[in-house]
């Protein structure tokens, strides 16, 4: 489904602080299943996810999504693809403070112009599914880490994406909450979503639901799983 060939990403090109975050990645990711990216800090895991998830464009090389070359697409179209294909769960959740939980969940759908009522119903259903129905009107600032993550997951799912991307999902959680995350991830996988996760956490890398572990080092794949 996603195919990367000789993908490189450079930051601050031509300046003294030039960094090659990715250095010739060749990788094919199939639809469905759960893939974990691991590697030491600074090895380029997050950067790889931004390229796959259409958050950024590679400096060179090709990224293909369902046989469509997306590496040269303008931001406008990357955004469209990102909105409809990918859902993101960020490491520090990145909820908007000052808004209620359900508003946060609905935000990614605003530019689509869906009828407000239907959108709200869908957001509510997602929150119920994650046992957060009673917190729908709560302000996100006061939510606990586990609750905030579940709101973030609901937000990632609002546009019904095929792929869910999670960057270090368990870094801020204790082991009980990590287990809860894995349970939700298992449910998503059963629903047919493709999961792409980066993690240092052995608890995640060795979980039963993980189909494949890709190891990176210095911007290269050292073990493709």
């Amino acid at each position: 489904m996603i195919h990367l060939s000789d993908v490189r990403k450079v930051f601050n090109q031509g300046r003294p602080n030039e960094v090659w975050a990715l250095n010739g990645i060749n990788l094919t990711l199939r639809q469905g299943g759960a893939t974990v990216f691991r590697g030491p800090s600074g090895s380029g895991k997050t950067t790889l996810l931004t390229l796959v998830g259409c958050l950024a464009r590679p400096s060179s090389g090709r990224v293909r999504l369902k046989d469509r070359d997306i590496s040269g697409l303008p931001e406008r179209f990357l955004t469209e693809i990102r909105r409809s294909t990918f859902g993101f769960v960020f490491q520090n959740f990145n909820l908007l403070s000052g808004l209620s939980a359900i508003q946060n969940v609905m935000i990614p759908a605003y530019p689509r112009g869906l009828p407000h009522k239907a959108l709200r119903r869908r957001a509510m259903a997602l929150l119920d599914m994650l046992d957060m129905g009673d917190k729908a009107e709560a302000e996100t600032r006061w939510l606990s880490g586990g609750e905030a993550q579940r709101i973030a997951i609901a937000r990632a799912l609002i546009n019904d994406p095929e792929v869910v991307i999670a960057d270090e999902p368990t870094a801020n959680l204790d082991s009980g909450l990590s287990a809860q995350f894995l349970a939700i991830a298992g449910r998503l996988k059963r629903d047919g979503k493709t999961l792409l996760v980066t993690s240092h956490d052995p608890f995640v890398c060795e979980a039963a639901l993980v189909d494949r572990v890709v190891t990176l080092h210095d911007g290269r794949i050292v073990e493709a799983g």
Partner: protein
């Protein structure tokens, strides 16, 4: 006359618009030279991002242009009382030789900006920025027109002098006397004007329906609506206005906007301007449909614009018919038909 409040407002708007678009010109040149979509370099990314700014700016300029066009005419009408012999906007515009050029330049600018925004809209639908060079080359032509329009406006307002009486001498005989709309448009025979208008509108409707139904002839439709604009204006000046005022020799296109005539001018001009802008846009969008990445999106935009444009022309036609029907003036008695008959017969030979 520079210290008139409305004049300051108009100059403020046109000069800052010019400055803003002018500031985009170096960027346009850079883009024309450096654009390379295949490159994922940061320079290319910066170029792409800057296009958002330029689009937003031109949108703003278009809005300001529209508002200041209305304000310009409105104000000319209001200032008529300042000039000896001026009855309405025409008098004010005639009071300096740059008056009408400034008006025309502003109208042209309105259509150009609308056309540019159509290009921009269509281009943004294509994944490979198919029109980016065309668009920025067009911006390079839009900028001088904007500058010229602003300069004409500035020259006009600088040149305006009210006939002031001072306390020591009478200025009774100061005014040179200004002829009201004595130009050739007004002299167009009524029959000829109406026939031309009917024919043009029929052609527009035929081409528009052909395009909407059959999907062909979009460019022709654009050209037809561009041509319909002056014809419609000529008909307004020479004949429709006469029907409204019910005075055989009053030809003013501006008095129509006055409250005395129920602001009927807006009912004529708003649909006409919108229809022309949309029609030209439809033609432009259709021309873009030959780019692979735009085939579908451009066609959709063109149809949508053509639909609005047709609706606008229809509204104009309906209002025009109503005005003629409602009027107490009868222009076409048996003898009034003679010039038309001569025209038709003469044209047939």
């Amino acid at each position: 006359m520079l210290f008139h409040p409305v004049i300051i407002a108009l100059l403020l708007s046109s000069l800052t618009s010019t400055a803003m678009v002018g500031a985009s010109v170096p960027f346009a040149v850079r883009l024309l030279r450096r654009w390379d979509l295949a490159s994922g370099s940061e320079a290319q990314l910066l170029l792409e991002r800057r296009t958002y700014l330029v689009s937003t700016l031109v949108q703003l300029v278009l809005l300001a242009q529209l508002a200041s066009l209305v304000l310009f005419v409105f104000n000319a009408d209001r200032m008529a009382s300042l000039f000896t012999g001026a009855m309405c906007a025409v008098g004010t515009l005639e009071a300096d030789r740059f008056g009408f050029p400034a008006l025309y330049a502003n109208i042209a600018l309105f259509f150009l900006a609308a056309a540019w925004l159509t290009l921009d809209h269509v281009d943004n639908r294509g994944w490979d920025y198919p029109l980016i060079r065309v668009k920025y080359a067009a911006l390079l032509t839009l900028a001088p027109v904007l500058a010229l329009a602003s300069l004409a406006e500035l020259a006009y307002f600088l040149g305006l002098r009210a006939d002031v009486i001072t306390s020591c001498c009478s200025t009774l005989f100061s005014g040179g006397g200004i002829t009201v709309a004595g130009n050739s448009l007004a002299a167009l025979p009524h029959g000829l004007a109406l026939v031309l208008l009917c024919l043009t509108l029929l052609a527009v409707f035929a081409l528009g329906l052909r395009f909407l139904v059959g999907g062909r002839g979009g460019t022709a439709y654009g050209a037809a609506s561009a041509a319909a604009f002056p014809v419609a204006l000529a008909a307004v000046v020479s004949t429709l206005s006469v029907y409204v005022y019910e005075l055989p020799n009053h030809h003013c296109p501006f008095c129509l906007l006055k409250a005395e005539y129920g602001h009927v001018g807006y009912a004529l001009y708003i649909p006409l301007f919108a229809a022309t802008a949309c029609g030209i846009g439809a033609g432009i969008a259709q021309r873009c449909a030959d780019r692979a990445s735009l085939a579908e999106a451009a066609q959709r935009t063109a149809r949508c614009l053509a639909g609005w444009s047709l609706a606008g022309f229809a509204a104009f036609a309906i209002v025009a018919v109503c005005l003629v029907a409602r009027s107490h003036l009868i222009l076409f008695g048996p003898s009034a038909w003679r010039p038309l008959a001569e025209f038709v017969v003469g044209g047939g030979r």
